[in-house]
Amino acid sequence: MIEVALRKALPGFTLDVAWAAGDEVVTLFGPSGAGKSLTLQCLAGLAHPDAGRVVVNGRVFDDSAAEVHLPPQARHLGYVFQGYALFPHLTVAENVAFGLRDRPPVERRRRTADVLGQLGIGDLAGRHPRELSGGQQQRVALGRAIAPDPAVLLLDEPLSALDAPLRRQLREELRALVVGLRRTVVLVTHDLAEAYQLGDRLVLYERGRVVQAGPKAEVLGRPASETVARLIGLRNVVRGVVVKTTSDRIEIVWRGHTVEAVNSPTAPFQAPPGTSVAFVVRPEHVRLIRKDRIGPDPVHHMNLLPGTVVETIDHGTSWTLLFRIDAPGSPSQGAYDLEIEIPQLVYEILDVGRDRQWRVSMHRGALQVLPGV
């Protein structure tokens, strides 16, 4: 359990965040310089917030109202630093045992051996960090952090120093390990895949603030704003103007065409006509209309838009088409309006490589209107 509220002003940057998490993996995600690492440093007592309150499992770490600021030594946290910060003059075993100094020697040796075994690096015990690969160093850093059995584990970009294939492999391992701890794990990353795969809960940071926080599926499935949608890497975040809102439908004029979206039954969107609004269209939810099908089909031909494929990008098993709607004015996303994702097979059957003029359709449920600014 962790409750965090922090305020810290630096020249040209202010951190002002509040979030909470249970015994789960909470991912602080956002661009570089958003304040994620600074948050970790405040949690560990390595940086002092100007104001705030940090409570871990009922223990008050910081409470500026009561002038409580525990030093890092008294917090008993595990911290995996970006770049690992292994002690270069100590062996792997000595690194892992570093936080076990106040235990009796026998127990210290046993615990060190256990942790090394658990991480599969028992045979490296006598080596020095400079003799290890990146992945091995990462494991040692993790071992050193978890050996004293900390109440909370903090991970600062734990995989960013590794090559892509190794990163994928270690992501799996890390997930299994941190879930097995059954503790609060706070993970900082700017890598979307890491955030998707490792976290139970997502806290999205931007410029020192939390723009959305919640269970991973909720944040990813229902972004609270255009900012969030862009932050979590959604494609086709575009803007139109509301013409009509009912309890279950929203009509929007976009690039000279009227498109229809579903209004949320739980949190209906209510904006007067004329309001500028952002919405998302998932690239895999846009369909190309086959030219050999004649006659309108009200279910499949919803939100019909004519246009041109201006570029195709091959991903091996699928293609991305950049589509420009036939309408005056400049397209929504630079040279195009929509990214469309289609499987390789569809690409071949429809012969998109040769034929560039298409009508596309989007089911109204595939248009997600983003509240707020």
């Binding site: 560990a44 007592g45 390595l46 030093p71 890092p72 030594q73 917090r75 008993h76 946290l77 595990g78 911290y79 630093f81 970006q82 770049g83 910060a85 002690f87 270069p88 003059h89 570093f98 936080g99 100094r101 106040d102 050193r144 004293p148």
Partner: protein, 220 residues
């Protein structure tokens, strides 16, 4: 080897070793403070420690007399209390050599401490070490090359100290006449043979120090 040569050599060794030990005691903590802490007067302290490097040694010696002499700021009260004063004892030679050699230790030691990744110290804090334990277990061991290099340089500097020693300790044969002072005396009184022996001994010793320093440096 005649008696004055042996006594000058023995005195020089004692003075240099003691001055280096004194510098290790003062200089390493000082280098750590200058490298890692921000405190009021840090800049002034930095200038004060480095000053003997650029001042003429006689000027440094003069300040030492003002500070430690029988009527000095510290030396006066000391004389009043104990009837003992520092100048013209062999301890004065130690103090003069230590002050002159201190910047040669502090500079490389400080640079070495500054180059230790601060995340290593943070990691030690998080794992329960106090700043003091962290300095002993992490920072200083990792800065050891710079510290040892500084100690060797300081020793060499102490061995060759002349001006400040002459000012504070004088040139009393058998008591404060170190090798450099003995060489000066020998040359000025026409004892060329004695001067030649001392020059050769000091040169050999200095070469040995340089070799030792590079051996130590590559082994650490």
């Amino acid at each position: 080897m005649s008696d004055p040569i042996a006594s000058a050599l023995w005195l020089s060794l004692r003075v240099s070793l003691l001055a280096t030990a004194l510098d290790a005691l003062i200089g390493v903590p000082l280098a750590y403070l200058l490298a890692r802490r921000r405190f009021w007067g840090r800049q002034a302290l930095d200038v004060l420690v480095m000053l003997p490097l650029v001042l003429p040694p006689t000027v440094t010696g003069y300040y030492l007399i003002v500070l430690l002499g029988r009527r000095g700021w510290l030396g006066g009260p000391l004389y009043g209390l104990t009837g003992w004063s520092l100048p013209f004892t062999w301890y004065a030679a130690v103090v003069a050599a230590a002050v002159m050699a201190l910047p040669l230790l502090v500079r490389p030691a400080r640079a070495a401490i500054e180059s230790v990744n601060p995340d290593l110290e943070r990691a030690a804090f998080v794992l329960g070490r106090s700043e003091w334990r962290t300095a002993l277990e992490v920072t200083l061991p990792l800065a050891r090359r710079g510290i040892v290099a500084g100690l060797v340089l300081a020793f060499a500097r102490a061995l060759g100290e002349f001006g400040a020693t002459l000012m504070l300790a004088g040139n009393i044969p058998g008591r404060t006449t170190t090798v450099p002072l003995a060489i000066y005396t020998a040359v000025s009184t026409g004892e060329t043979e004695e001067a030649r022996v001392l020059v050769l001994v000091l040169t050999t010793l200095s070469c040995a120090v340089i070799v030792l320093a590079s051996r130590l440096g590559s082994r650490l």
